[in-house]
């Protein structure tokens, strides 16, 4: 257990600015080999910029990046043979068939002859596209298109895979399947960096970083994040929840309150040692109406990002 982990991505004080806009600021990042690392954050928080900087598509304004032992941006060309990148928008050719798209990518990576044939038929069966291989990419469903994009990104067996919001246009069923495939890849030794704004997806990652406005607010495994959260979660069952909510959010030490059906989920700052007593005192509700519950990733996210969004 004493061996130090093998890092596939190391970033120190990484910043990228577009004019006055600080898309990412002072980002420190360490991604371990054969893990899935997540970037969780709202739209426009710098997830895509971070990924583009780590792939060498964008030059960092300042800071150091080492990916797979290669220093960026100088060794960006060498990195391209070892990494795969699945863009947020479908970026294969709509007017080529599934097979033609894969053949094109294979040729670009210099995979030819029998090796190409075998690899493509392997990918087609792994990603369930056998039946669709002669179909134009534009006629595929969202889930199929996503699988095709993943097949293309992993065709040259990259050591490191970047996925930019891979499942934003995919239904939950397909999303589950997609993640199963990611774990398969991970087990085969591929390291994966994935960005998302879905909590359930973030929860599947081995480790994740919560980003907001270009800044990393927290990082660690989902369990660690939930354990170390600087707040307690109380669920209240009561009548007249809308009014109760208005009353509670004006209290000091309350981060936010959100209604879940007939319940109200309240985040209380850690500075309040006994949140149950505190809330009971202010709401005058019976004891059994208030429960301390296990925090979810969403609670972590809201606590970290200030929670000013209601």
């Amino acid at each position: 257990m004493a061996t130090s982990p093998e890092w596939v991505i190391q970033a120190k004080q990484l910043s990228r600015h577009f004019g006055d806009l600080k898309a990412i600021e002072q980002l420190d990042l360490n991604v371990e080999k054969s893990t899935i690392y997540g970037f969780l954050g709202p739209n426009g928080c710098g997830k895509t910029t971070a990924i583009r900087t780590l792939t060498g598509l964008l030059k960092p304004t300042s800071g150091e990046v080492t990916v797979l032992g290669l220093k960026l941006p100088d060794d960006a060309e060498k990195l391209r043979l070892k990494m795969g990148y699945m863009t947020q928008k479908f970026s294969l050719y709509n007017n080529l068939t599934v097979k033609e798209n894969l053949q094109f990518i294979a040729k670009i990576y210099g995979i030819s002859g029998l090796a190409q044939k075998q690899r493509i038929s392997e990918l087609l069966s792994v990603y369930g596209l056998d039946q669709k291989q002669r179909q134009l990419a534009e006629s595929l469903s969202g889930g199929q298109r996503q699988r095709l994009a993943l097949a293309a990104a992993t065709l040259h067996k990259p050591q490191l895979l970047f996925l930019d919001e891979p499942t934003s246009a995919v239904d939950p069923e397909n999303r589950r399947e997609f993640w199963e495939q990611l774990f398969d890849l991970c087990e085969q030794g591929t390291s994966i960096l994935v960005s998302t704004h879905y909590m359930d997806e973030a929860e599947r990652c081995h480790k994740l970083a919560i980003l907001e406005n270009g800044l990393k607010r927290a990082d660690g495994s989902p369990e660690e994040l939930m354990k170390n959260m600087a707040a307690k979660v109380v669920e209240i069952e009561a009548q007249g929840i809308r009014q109760l909510k208005q009353q509670i959010i004006t209290l000091p030490n309350i981060i936010t309150a959100a209604q879940l059906g007939a319940r109200l989920r309240v985040l209380v700052k850690d500075s309040q040692p006994d949140p149950l007593a505190y809330l009971q005192h202010h709401t005058q509700l019976a004891n059994d109406k208030l429960n301390l519950v296990r925090p979810s990733l969403e609670d972590v996210f809201i606590t970290c990002t200030g929670g000013g969004r209601q």
């Binding site: 583009r52 792939t55 060498g56 598509l57 964008l58 030059k59 941006p73 960006a76 060309e77 391209r80 043979l81 990494m83 990148y85 863009t87 928008k89 479908f90 970026s91 294969l92 050719y93 709509n94 007017n95 080529l96 033609e100 094109f104 990518i105 040729k107 670009i108 990576y109 210099g110 030819s112 134009l136 293309a152």
Partner: protein, 382 residues
């Protein structure tokens, strides 16, 4: 090196497959030269004939009618209207019903008898008498081509009118017309049209081809692969070289069979200069594609190049007739050099080696353009 060729070939076949699926574009590749050549080959004619004109005849004699017939026989004009007074004829000219008016004065026979154009009868006419013209043309001079056609009638011989033997006159100069003795416009237009159609399709296709990749988001994927900018560009260009050659064959074949335009030079110099021009145009398209950010912009820039290529290259108007500044601009356009080369090869059977200036210029343009395009093409998103 082998992998580079392999990647170029990957782009090449991908481009061909996409082109094959894009029926409209594929159709245009064939239809543009076909339709435009037939259309322009017949339509563009610098020998203006059958200009509609009005007649105002104040003489109303057999002689005046004979004069009108002689003028009609030249086929330059066609009398479509007749008026009693010059004012209503002028109205017709304002409406562009007619482009000129022939005014025959009442004393036509006296004027004609003394006119030098029929040979001077006896007794000898005085200076005042001979300097009086027979009749007058009032011309809509706004169109210079029509004006000069009618001007050419100014000193037409009228000897037939009086059934007199023609004056044997020796011309000051003997004129021998080389290369196009019958003065057929198509002989000049068809090779020129080759340059214009290639300019249009070649620049448009390549400029749109690269811009389309960025517009559809494919570029973001391509730049994360090991492909190099120059490989991408070369792979994109090669299919269009074949398309260009296909168009050349259509245009020259049609020109030969329909318009009887001979190909006097050898096929080798012909394809040599054409390939050079195709390369120069494709590279120009590439440069545009590195500047434009969407297909509409690339289309606008193509038109920006196309119009001077049509008007200044010598396709429509002689290069020599343009002011010096315009000539400098024309020199910068590949089309100008191609016009000289292709007309030289097709009509005059000029050897490749006799036109080194234009050949070197096109070569230099291609190399420079390729360097500029490769430098401008960015393989990152900065």
């Amino acid at each position: 090196m082998i992998t580079a060729l392999y990647r170029i070939q990957a782009i090449f076949f991908k481009e061909l497959t996409q082109l094959k699926r894009d029926r409209m574009t594929f159709g245009m590749v064939i239809m543009i030269p076909l339709v435009q050549l037939v259309l322009f080959g017949y339509a563009i004619n610098t020998n203006v004939r059958h200009i509609p004109v009005a007649l105002v005849d104040h003489s109303q004699t057999a002689l005046s009618r004979a004069l009108v017939q002689t003028v009609t026989a030249t086929q330059v004009v066609k009398f479509t209207e007749q008026y009693n007074d010059i004012d209503s004829a002028q109205k017709a000219m304002e409406r562009t019903d007619v482009r000129a008016i022939l005014f025959i004065p009442h004393d036509l026979s006296q004027r004609l008898a003394r006119s030098s154009s029929v040979g001077l009868g006896l007794p000898a006419a005085s200076d005042e008498q001979t300097s009086r013209p027979v009749a007058q043309w009032v011309v809509d001079g706004s169109d210079t081509m029509i004006a000069s056609s009618i001007k050419s009638l100014r000193s037409m011989p009228l000897v037939e009118l009086l059934r007199q033997p023609a004056n044997r006159s020796t011309p000051t100069f003997e004129v021998t017309l080389f290369y196009n003795p019958e003065q057929r416009t198509a002989v000049n237009i068809v090779p020129g049209l080759l340059g214009i159609i290639l300019t249009m399709t070649m620049i448009m296709f390549t400029s749109a081809a690269i811009v389309r990749e960025s517009e559809h988001g494919n570029m973001e994927m391509l730049i994360t692969t090991p492909i190099k900018p120059i490989e991408l560009m070369v792979g994109k260009i090669i299919p269009y070289i074949f398309i260009g050659l296909l168009q050349v064959i259509i245009i020259l074949g049609l020109g030969y069979y329909v318009f009887n335009v001979p190909v006097n030079g050898g096929l080798l110099p012909l394809f040599g200069v054409t390939l050079l021009f195709i390369a120069a145009s494709l590279v120009l398209g590439l440069v545009i594609s590195t500047i434009a950010t969407n297909q509409l912009q690339s289309m606008q820039m193509t038109i920006f190049i196309l119009l001077p290529s049509i008007l200044l290259s010598g396709f429509m108007f002689p290069y020599e007739g343009m002011p010096l500044t315009a000539q400098y601009i024309a020199e910068a356009l590949p089309a100008t050099h191609f016009m000289r080369l292709i007309r030289g090869v097709i009509l005059k059977d000029v050897e490749f080696t006799d036109m080194t200036f234009d050949v070197y210029w096109l070569l230099l343009f291609t190399v420079l353009g390729l360097v500029v395009a490769s430098l401008r093409f960015k393989k990152n998103l900065d």
